[in-house]
């Protein structure tokens, strides 16, 4: 039975090793260039227009232009090594994914954006964040 992913557009199934290379729409929605398979490092020429591929991946030579955003091997093991897959695109360069202490709003006024202690709760409200 042929793979259900053989002809999908935004999942590039490597014709060589059958790794599923997920092409995130943010990066690949409109794309023409070379993609490196996260499973076997094979390089594939590939073109997408509005999220739809123009043709099957064609063998190409290094260097590659982009790596997939996420990948998994044919036995469904995830590949997350950042030398093989791209980090997800983020809205900010300093994205951390953990609480960020903020003391000023966008317009520069005090806002209660930092963790407090029980002692901070004693007294007036403004005292809590106007440090």
């Amino acid at each position: 039975m042929s793979s259900p992913f053989r002809e999908t557009s935004l999942i590039l199934e490597c014709p060589k090793c059958e790794t599923l290379n997920y092409l995130d729409p943010f990066t690949f929605w409109n794309f023409k260039g070379k993609i490196k398979c996260a499973g076997c490092d094979a390089i594939w020429a590939y073109e997408l227009v509005n999220g739809t591929r123009k043709a099957a991946p064609a063998a190409a030579t290094a260097p590659h232009d982009k790596m997939p955003g996420y990948a998994q091997s044919k036995d469904w093991k995830t590949i997350t090594d950042f030398s093989k897959v791209n980090k997800g695109p983020q809205a900010r360069e300093d994205f951390q994914g953990k609480p960020i202490p903020i003391t000023k709003s966008k317009r520069g006024n005090p806002v209660s954006g930092t963790p407090l202690t029980a002692a901070d709760l004693v007294g007036s409200r403004p005292k809590q964040f106007a440090k």
Binding site: N50, I100, V111, P115, L121, F129
Partner: protein, 452 residues
């Protein structure tokens, strides 16, 4: 009687005067005197209570002690929080996901697993006009604090239950979320791109089914208060089902299916009923030097020119007279093949322009057009700040926050935002002493026993 000064004004000055957003807090609140208990979580239930609170109802939000309801723990990518979450957990914060659905409320914490908490709920119910709740069907009934128990205590109570699928039928025990409502209600399948353009359906990013359901629930509550106060003297039980609410605004897609058997497909940023009435991709970014990828991307611009004379003007602006000749009438344009030819032709005009340049060209020709704004552009729009729809608020607990104001205007009894929300249980003492008759030591005892 409208006084002479108002009569002599232009309509614009009249509106500016009677809706003066600087004068809001001097005016009465239209729902003052209505008390609602909101045992709600996430967005659907809280939104219904929030709309009442914006109009002046005294809404008492009841949450689990210490940690509060789940929506407090949702925030974009786990980053921005406002502190403290509660007096018991000052090192934790409330996530920005809690914004928008809980303004102006009083915050009480109660653990419904404790019998004393059930008694407190009953005392509150006896003195309240409205209850809003969105736990699974029958949960509060099982706990002894549902409509049937409250009606014995307070026959005038209007009880709004909101859930995924309704209180009876095969789906009654299923849980629901906004996106499930979009999926089952049919909205998801018709939003996104057709096969030729990638084929992906798309959810609405905002919790549109929750806020829509909250709004329906709020006006159902008001209708029942009217009925109670003017006709029957009694409250009633209201049910809102998210999946039914979602399909309610499928517009012509249901009648299309009923009449022809056609299952509508997605049509992206174009419109199956009208052409041209869609969004064009522009070739240049308006913020090429921004570090934010969303701002670096090329812009988009909406344009409407479905009337024949407007389409002719549009073709004149884009310099494509052939297009006007080939598709002179709306019937010529609105077909699928025609639209697939027209939009790419229009986008050729926009290919070397920013969305603002495209917008200027279209509006200059008298067409209805609008650049697609991002949250930066929306948050800083002078028009919205002047009219109070967007505001900076000096929140008494959290400091300087930007938030949506009320989206409507009432000349004599305007809605308003007093605070965006408060920490969990912030008003325990106030509510329990004022409405339930507890003294200070009794409240301390409730806290010690972790009932509140």
């Amino acid at each position: 009687m409208v006084d002479k000064a108002l009569k002599d004004m232009t309509f614009e000055d009249f509106c500016r005067s009677v809706f003066n957003t600087k004068d809001t807090f001097h005016k009465p609140e239209v729902l003052k005197g209505i008390r609602a208990i909101s045992t709600t979580q996430y967005i659907l239930g809280p939104a219904s209570a929030a709309y009442l609170a914006e109009l002046g109802a005294e809404v008492i939000k009841v949450e689990l002690p210490k940690r509060g309801e789940p929506m407090r723990h949702t925030t974009p990518f786990n980053e921005p929080f406002l502190y403290p979450l509660s007096r018991w957990m000052p090192e934790k914060g409330t996530g920005l996901g809690f914004f928008g659905a809980n303004p102006n409320e009083l915050f009480l914490s109660l653990d419904f697993h404790k019998p004393e908490a059930i008694q407190i709920m009953k005392r509150l119910a006896a003195k309240s006009d409205v209850a809003c709740e969105n736990y699974r069907a029958g949960t509060f009934d099982r706990w002894g604090i549902g409509y049937r128990q409250f009606k014995d205590l307070n026959p005038r109570m209007v009880y709004q239950w909101m859930g995924g699928f309704g209180g009876w039928g095969p789906g009654r025990n299923r849980a629901s979320y906004d996106i499930l409502g979009q999926a089952q209600g049919g909205c998801f399948s018709i939003t996104g791109w057709p096969k030729e353009y990638g084929g992906m359906p798309s959810k609405q990013t905002i919790w549109i089914m929750d806020y829509w359901g909250g709004a329906i629930s709020a006006f159902n509550i008001l209708a029942c208060l009217y009925w109670r106060d003017n006709v029957s003297g009694e409250g009633q039980f209201l049910e809102y089902s998210q999946v039914h609410g979602a399909q309610r605004h499928l517009t012509d897609f249901i009648s299309l299916y009923g009449k022809t058997g056609i299952v509508a497909q997605r049509w992206g940023n174009w419109e199956p009923l009208l052409c041209v009435h869609g969004i064009l991709k522009c070739g240049k970014s308006s913020f090429p030097n921004s570090k934010n990828p969303q701002e670096q991307e090329v812009g988009f611009c909406f344009v409407s020119a479905y009337k024949d004379e407007d389409f002719k003007k549009l073709c004149g602006v884009v310099g494509n007279a052939e297009l006007a000749k080939k598709y002179p009438t709306h019937a010529d344009r609105v077909g699928s093949d025609a639209q697939q030819a027209i939009y790419p032709a229009l986008e050729k005009f926009a290919a070397d322009k920013t969305k603002e340049e495209v917008w200027k060209a279209f509006t200059g020709a008298g067409l209805v057009s609008q650049p697609v704004w991002n949250s930066n552009e929306a948050a800083n729009q002078e028009h919205w700040h002047l009219r109070g729809s967007m505001q900076w608020l000096d929140d008494p607990t959290f400091g300087d926050v930007q938030t949506q104001g009320v989206a409507y205007r009432l000349s004599e009894t305007p809605g308003r935002i007093k605070h965006v929300f408060k920490p969990v249980g912030a008003d325990n003492e106030f509510v329990l002493s004022k409405l339930c008759g507890y003294g200070g030591s009794e409240i301390a005892d409730l806290e010690k026993k972790e009932i509140i």
